[in-house]
């Protein structure tokens, strides 16, 4: 009987295991192998061993380091602002005032849309003929249109802004779910004791929310490290390679320049960052499972 259930159990889980082996484990292993070759990816006979040259090139590749710092800036900026704005939004809905239902839906709406659509919208809105430049011009703040996506110093931050706009509603809902579990007696007791509103948030609400804060920040960071869509559609890494992140630079090397070996080294960097995130994530998941 035990043996039979064990066998059925194995058969039940077999499809999932096979998918994992074929399309995650095999690719991860291949990535490590590919990082030691030079290959355009067309026929196997083109493949040339490259030793460590791909890794050496990475360390002297200015664009890669730009992509690295850009990714870190993207992760840090989106995580900080999403959590801050998400918490404020959640606190606003939690007042349960008339109008908070509309507020919730309005802030959440962009979460539903695909980053591609957000990217198209914002690019058009911020371009030379978009509403932002129209308004700036009619307020006589600028004479020539300001190129939000055409300026090397600004482009990345413009994309970050659009990303924050899109996902604030997501963090807001996570925090709102967290706020529902706050013990009201404690808040009331603190109020009777004459604690200020900020004092209550700082001393009662935030400590209680700390698991939610940890999960939300981690989710934002993981999302940030793998960002591709919105950067690709808004700047494609430009102008002049100034706004690349890991994934867009990998895409450029692999599928525009056909440098599968070199791009695989970038993939390894992504995997390393993912493993670091995984260690933190597993801790939280373990607590919940």
């Amino acid at each position: 009987m035990r043996l039979r259930t064990a066998r059925i159990g194995f058969l039940f889980s077999l499809p999932a295991i096979l998918f994992f082996l074929a399309f995650i484990l095999a690719p991860v292993v291949s990535t490590f192998l590919l990082s030691f070759v030079q290959w355009k990816g067309f026929t196997l006979s083109d493949m040339k061993p490259a030793g460590l040259s791909n890794f050496i090139e990475l360390f002297s590749d200015g664009v890669f380091f730009r992509a690295l710092t850009n990714t870190l800036i993207f992760v840090a900026a989106t995580t900080v602002f999403l959590n801050l704005l998400g918490f404020i939004g959640a606190a606003i809905i939690d007042t349960k005032l008339a109008g908070s239902g509309f507020f919730k839906n309005a802030i959440f709406l962009p979460v539903l849309l695909s980053p591609i659509i957000i990217g198209i919208m914002w690019s058009r809105m911020l371009d030379a003929f978009g509403i932002v430049n129209q308004l700036l011009k009619s307020a006589h703040l600028i004479k020539l249109p300001f190129l939000f996506l055409g300026d090397e110093r600004i482009a990345l931050y413009t994309v970050i802004g659009a990303t924050i706009w899109q996902y604030t509603g997501y963090d807001m809902l996570l925090y709102y779910a967290g706020l529902q579990g706050i013990p009201h007696e404690q808040v009331e007791a603190a109020t009777i004791d004459g604690a200020s509103r900020l004092g209550i948030i700082w001393n009662v609400v935030l400590p209680f929310l700390s698991p939610v804060i940890a999960v939300t920040m981690l989710l934002n960071m993981i999302g940030g490290f793998k960002v591709f869509d919105i950067v690709y559609v808004m700047t494609a890494g430009g102008p002049n390679n100034s706004s690349h992140v890991f994934a867009t630079y990998l895409f450029l090397q692999a599928f525009r320049f056909n440098r599968m070996g070199y791009a695989s080294v970038i993939a390894i960097v992504i995997i390393l960052f993912s493993i670091i995130a995984a260690v933190f994530r597993l801790r939280i998941v373990r607590q919940e499972v």
Partner: protein
């Protein structure tokens, strides 16, 4: 009283302000070719025919069909495969099942970008490059980990006595799973459906890499392909943006609470 009214007004205005980009895009979609770059918001005459033109010129029918087909099939397979695996991992344990469970969870940590190169090469060698099947295989793979986690969490809350009783009654394990456990699991099924639907409907990188023919494109790839030229017909692209967003928005409005629960539960579990 007045304070409350002012607060309501305040948060409504903030909400409305947040929606300005969307309202602006709607205004853009209703302009004529002449006013598309000059008007600020809505023009006096609204060109609703843009929507029909956009639908035809950009082959939205095809894009929707492709996305719906790929997402639908992927979600079905994710449901089937992940529920079976999750059930095995908590109720039909075998030597090594714990190991396989954590192995599959590991898949959650690997972002598609990290393995997109070998996936592209594997699909090419299997002769699946530029087919919907390639995309569906990838989507099922990346959808499994979180779905397994959600189902496992739910199955653990189903009393073990129920399964034990079915066993004593002589019910086959497959039968127990299919006709006792799964019908009980509608909350978990809903969560998995919503979460994987969102994930696949909006997925971009894999679709961009694995598909080449315009006829096979999904919505996001088709949309991304529209922009980029200075002379792009923006009133039509804006109409396209609205068309592409509408279905997901309608789904959200009809099953709002379920939707939010699915999205946040999926996230918090993962």
């Amino acid at each position: 009283m007045i304070k409350k009214a002012l607060q309501t007004l305040g948060i409504s205005l903030v909400g409305l302000g947040f929606l300005v980009p969307i309202i602006w895009v709607i205004s853009l979609s209703l302009r004529s070719k002449k006013t598309v770059f000059t008007a600020l918001f809505f023009t006096r005459d609204l060109h609703f025919e843009n929507y029909l033109t956009a639908w035809k010129t950009f082959h939205f029918g095809r894009l929707f069909l492709n996305s719906a087909f790929i997402t639908g099939v992927s979600v079905l397979f994710i449901l089937g495969i992940s529920s079976l695996a999750a059930y095995a991992f908590c109720r039909l344990k075998y030597r090594g099942s714990e190991f396989f469970f954590y192995l599959i969870l590991l898949g959650m940590m690997i972002p598609p970008a990290a393995v997109v190169i070998p996936l592209f090469l594997i699909m090419k060698n299997l002769g699946l490059y530029n087919t919907h099947l390639a995309l569906m295989l990838a989507y099922v793979t990346f959808g499994l980990p979180i779905a397994v986690l959600i189902f496992r969490g739910f199955f653990l809350s189903v009393p073990a006595e129920l399964i034990e009783a079915a066993r004593i009654d002589g019910s086959h394990e497959v039968n127990t799973f299919a006709s006792i456990i799964m019908p009980l699991s509608t909350p978990a099924i809903a969560t998995v459906v919503i979460f994987s639907f969102m994930q696949n409907w909006n997925e971009f990188l894999l679709a961009l890499v694995l598909l080449k023919d315009r006829l096979l494109y999904t919505l996001p790839v088709g949309m991304a392909n529209l922009v980029g030229q200075w002379d792009s017909p923006w009133q039509l692209i804006a109409a396209g943006v609205v068309i592409a967003s509408l279905p997901i928005f309608i789904v959200y409005l009809t099953i709002q609470d379920l939707y939010v629960k699915g999205l946040t539960a999926g996230a918090l579990k993962g």
